[in-house]
Subunit: 644 residues, 2 copies
């Protein structure tokens, strides 16, 4: 199962090696993270980043190994943005010449870069950004300026304290005309003493959700007071400003930028399965240790994992972790496919690929955020302790629902493409890829689910068709309602809550389909395939139950068939139960990476919880600081004369 | 609307006075709370508690005023447990004599008490506690002992550092026999120097979810090594141990203890409406300020609050805040009613009252926890900043789902009572109170929803009947399935996930019913009643949509009627929109209590966000600590020779 999860024997081995490398190095300890002050936590991030880089260079790690090492260091910091956004932006939007100049500096960390797009008053709507980059033909420079308070750059990771450079997005103005948002490479800090350059105001935007968590990152604020940069620091792959100040487009198609977006979002889906699998691993292991009730005669209590209520909440999340893992693998393939097609200037699948990656980003991150919190609740009271690891995992994960495209905004984009696809069906245009099923509209609008007995729901074809019919019928219903409005735009606006649901149905179909396709492949390992089939069915029937209203309202299944699905789901849980712990052990996470007393591999939970408690700073003294000032006067009835 | 929310003009006035008293007192500032170290935060709690008590005494505040003052101080601390658990435990379980001895000490704060029930290995299952209290007839004492690691008391608030005394729950053993769990008053710390008494080990259990939040509380660990207490410190109202060691029951009925449970849980429901209304207030106000998209021609962007997707997520939560407020008021009445009946030894409604309070505790706290996080997401990226107030509100609120009865365990108790009620229907026993509708089983099992047009869903009778039919049919279905099993207990266990859903349906019916009853009363104020009617319909149709599968699967409504409900819901949002800000202003929260830059009453959000950022400790220096050690060597390519 380890191989099935990791993808290959090689992937298991290299991940294992890197995880152990990190776990055994005292610099990378993270058990004290929630107790550090903001400054100490940030300093710790700087230390870990430098140490990681040192190890990467010393050990001559490959790119794959280096990425895994950073993953297991598991602490958000400026390097994430440097590698994940700054470098790709230059690669994607810089000319050959710009790449030759800037990339070697970035690769060797002679500069540290971040990605300065969002502003205090502007997030999702990139076109609304206010920062200006005005071309001055006299000096052949751009003047970068923050004209209002709301135009302050706000949120970029690594910006507040660490970065020396940024790709800054600003309205390009030349010859008195506003050409909209473009990217510019701007130096922010002196390479000699790290002080902000003249005209640049820089700071951290303050504490964020949770202790530890994302507070290791210096999300920053940045203001420009007429800061000048050379003309050649505009990223000019797609369009240029000439020496004279003329704005000209290059012949590079704009669609190329989508490649980067697909890449970033597929990595977010992969991260979702990682975060979810960590939470599920903790909850499953602790549920196998923890006992409550069930003893009528003084005998041992029942393992919590044996309770049907626990199973019905936890096993769907275990199945989701695998589902997201496999759809993430598939997205990785899609990225390669899209890249090849883009290079061949074939844009035919781009829209479908965009809908699919945007939608999967939205659905998997929302589900994961909810699932981590559910896993925390499934650990009872102790899940609320920082030592359980779950509070920090939740706090550090939830921004994934907002960054790189707010999930609601992304789902509306999916819905827009769905509506377009439906409207083109009449003209006979055949949808492609993950939308191909919509071509079978005639059949799916009136198909009848053939399930008669509970076990009929184990048939992948029955599941697949029910999910296809549901998604299609919801999309068609929406399209009909949208078309009733005076104009399409008003209709779309009015029906947007329904459109969100149709988009989710479409994306869930993709996840189910890719899981089914996965378990139809050859999968080595004794019994592995059977267990994955169970998880695939658990995932599908869980979604069917959760969205039963959709399936019934569209007439895709009958109430009786819904009840049979429910029955089958219960039986599947019983089959998953004996393998549950093995299924989370297959993630192969070290105790260091998991960071949870409740999820310890050795199950030695209670002594570890007890030991952790004494490490709290509050336990440094037996009688608390403040006793003489605030408790004793109260207890001795001397409060009214006390000076507090 | 302020009066409708608060309950009376008097309630508005006194709350207003206390809120301003707290807000204007610099000791009670809380904007820096997330930046304090654990020790400083705890010391701050001690300071605030002492100062609050000083003000209460100086100003001769009434009990109502004192409670409100503590509410607006808004920082979890030992006083919550002292007043909320220690004092009520002595009142409820202590004899007259014990009350006379201990209550005056507690009332004057000559002792500080907490409530030590849960153990490291034992939460929900009180009967599984391991701490022992063995009677020693030689000395007329009980010997309190922690025989195992898992028997360590774990979680009690105020225990770790502040309390001098505790009500400790332990297995009573006398004459070699285990009589199960009983309560004992045990002194833990010296009243002279606050050091733990001999044989007592005390500490804090460590950091919890979030920064600030519940970390102001010293949830504690406590171990006993054969600690002796006088026999008369066993709480003896219900049963006693005689001088000779005989265990005897008094003639006080055990049911009296339920009164306390109803009281505690009704206050938790009231707290749910407070927490939810704070989150909703922040999200509504900020959604009226925040603008995104919608400008096609460079004009101003659209207020986020105008988006249908925002409305369809936010307005149901606004409606829920009002729904929980009114059902909380009703529970308050129920508590009085139950108390009177208990005093008259009438136990006939006790079971129904228990189901109803336990279930309302579970449903309202779970919904509120989810809703706070949803409100945070509805504020976009900025909701993730501590200065938004929402991270701390979430982190401090979520334990309500676990303490005072884990929500799943409570819902299973509700389900058990539902199953019992269904089984008694055949014998003609008429259910009472909130279960009375189940008596109309014949009718409700085959009733048909009469809705033909969208606006028919505005008819309270249509809503009420649909909710009653859904709840009843789910309960009856469950009962049939449970009865098919070889024995009832196995059937209950197998069907427990379905039983949870039936319990939720029953409780949601109660909430809807109480909201409908509320808006059928006379409500003063221009237009107030109409707005509350809108909110009532929003709440009901939102639940109907969320659980559409239930309504369709049980045949309570048709898919067509479901679509009509959806249509009507959309229309209601349009009606709520113009009053949304006024509806949250009616909560009458000060900026101090709200604690959110995004929810400021004056709407001056962006300058305030900008200003808050600079207060972060990380901004104390422009060049971060650690630059010379960890950043400069990296940038200057001197890493391999650096000592990190």
């Amino acid at each position: 199962m380890k191989v099935a999860w990791a993808g290959s024997r090689h992937a298991v081995d290299v991940a294992d090696r890197m995880a152990r490398l990190v776990a055994s190095d005292p610099v990378f300890r993270k058990d004290n993270r929630t107790m550090l002050s903001r400054q100490d936590l940030f300093k710790d991030t700087l230390r870990k980043a430098a140490h990681a880089w040192k190890r990467i260079v010393e050990l001559r790690l490959t790119e794959e190994e280096a990425n895994l090492l950073r993953l297991y260091v598991d602490q958000p910091g400026y390097v994430d943005l440097h590698w994940g956004m700054f470098v790709p932006a230059i690669k994607g939007q810089g000319t050959e010449q710009q790449q030759q100049k800037w990339l070697p500096l970035a690769y060797k960390f002679q500069i540290i870069g971040c990605y300065a797009q969002t502003e205090l008053g502007h997030g999702s709507n990139v076109q609304g950004l206010e920062t200006t980059a005005t071309f001055d033909p006299k000096t052949d420079e751009f003047v970068i300026h923050s004209p209002t308070l709301t135009s302050s750059k706000w949120w970029p990771g690594g910006l507040g304290k660490a970065s020396t450079h940024a790709v800054v997005y600003a309205r390009l103005i030349t010859e008195g005309k506003d050409y909209g948002i473009h990217g510019f490479i701007v130096q922010l800090r002196s390479l000699e003493d790290h002080s902000p350059l003249p005209g640049v105001t820089l700071g951290d935007i303050g504490g964020k959700f949770g202790s530890g968590a994302y507070n290791s990152m210096d999300n920053g604020v940045l203001r420009f007071d007429h800061v000048r940069i050379p003309r050649d620091q505009m990223l000019m792959r797609l369009s240029q400003v000439t020496r004279e100040g003329k704005y000209v487009h290059s012949d590079v198609p704009k669609q190329l930028l989508y490649g980067t977006m697909v890449f970033v979002r597929q990595s977010i889906v992969a991260d979702a399965s990682k975060a979810l699998s960590r939470a599920v691993c903790i909850a499953v292991r602790y549920s196998a240790i923890r006992k409550q009730f069930g003893s009528q005669d003084g005998g041992p209590e029942t393992q919590v994992l044996n309770y049907k209520t626990q199973q019905s909440r936890l096993f769907p999340l275990l199945a989701s972790a695998y589902a997201f893992r496999f759809v993430g693998d598939w997205l990785n393939w899609l990225y390669t496919d899209v890249t090849q097609k883009l290079e061949a200037k074939d844009f035919s699948t781009l829209q479908e690929a965009h809908a699919c990656t945007a939608g999967l980003k939205a659905v998997t991150t929302s589900a994961t955020a909810d699932a981590i919190e559910e896993c925390r609740k499934l650990c009872g009271g102790h899940g609320y302790l920082n030592s359980s690891g779950l509070p920090e995992l939740f706090a550090v994960y939830v921004p994934a629902c907002t960054y790189e495209g707010d999930n609601i905004v992304l789902l509306l984009q999916v819905a827009r493409i769905l509506m377009k696809t439906v409207s083109q069906l009449a003209s006979g245009k055949q949808p492609v890829g993950t939308m191909a099923y919509m071509g079978r509209v005639q059949y799916l609008m009136q198909s009848k689910c053939a399930v008669n007995r509970a076990e009929d729901w184990l048939n992948p074809a029955a599941i697949q068709e029910a999910f296809e019919a549901r998604a299609l019928r919801m999309a068609v219903n929406c399209a009909q309602n949208v078309n009733q409005a005076a104009n399409q735009e008003d209709g779309f606006y009015e029906r947007s809550p329904d459109l969100l649901e149709a988009a989710v149905a479409h994306i869930q179909l993709i996840i189910v389909t890719k899981f089914i396709e996965k378990v139809q492949q050859d999968i080595p390992g004794h019994g592995v395939k059977g267990q994955l089939q169970n998880l695939c069915n658990v995932y599908a029937l869980y979604i069917l139950h959760k969205h039963l209203g959709d399936f019934l309202a569209t007439g895709c299944i009958t109430p009786k068939q819904g009840a049979l699905a429910n029955e089958q789901r219960g039986k599947l849980y019983t089959q998953v139960r004996p393998n549950a712990v093995a299924l989370v052990d297959a993630f192969n996470y070290t105790d260091h990476y998991l960071g949870s007393v409740l999820g310890r591999y050795d199950g030695n939970v209670y002594p570890a919880l007890y030991e952790e408690a004494w490490k709290d700073p509050l336990n440094e003294t037996v009688v608390p600081e403040g006793y003489h000032q605030y408790l004793r006067p109260l207890l001795k009835q001397q409060l009214l004369s006390a000076r507090l």
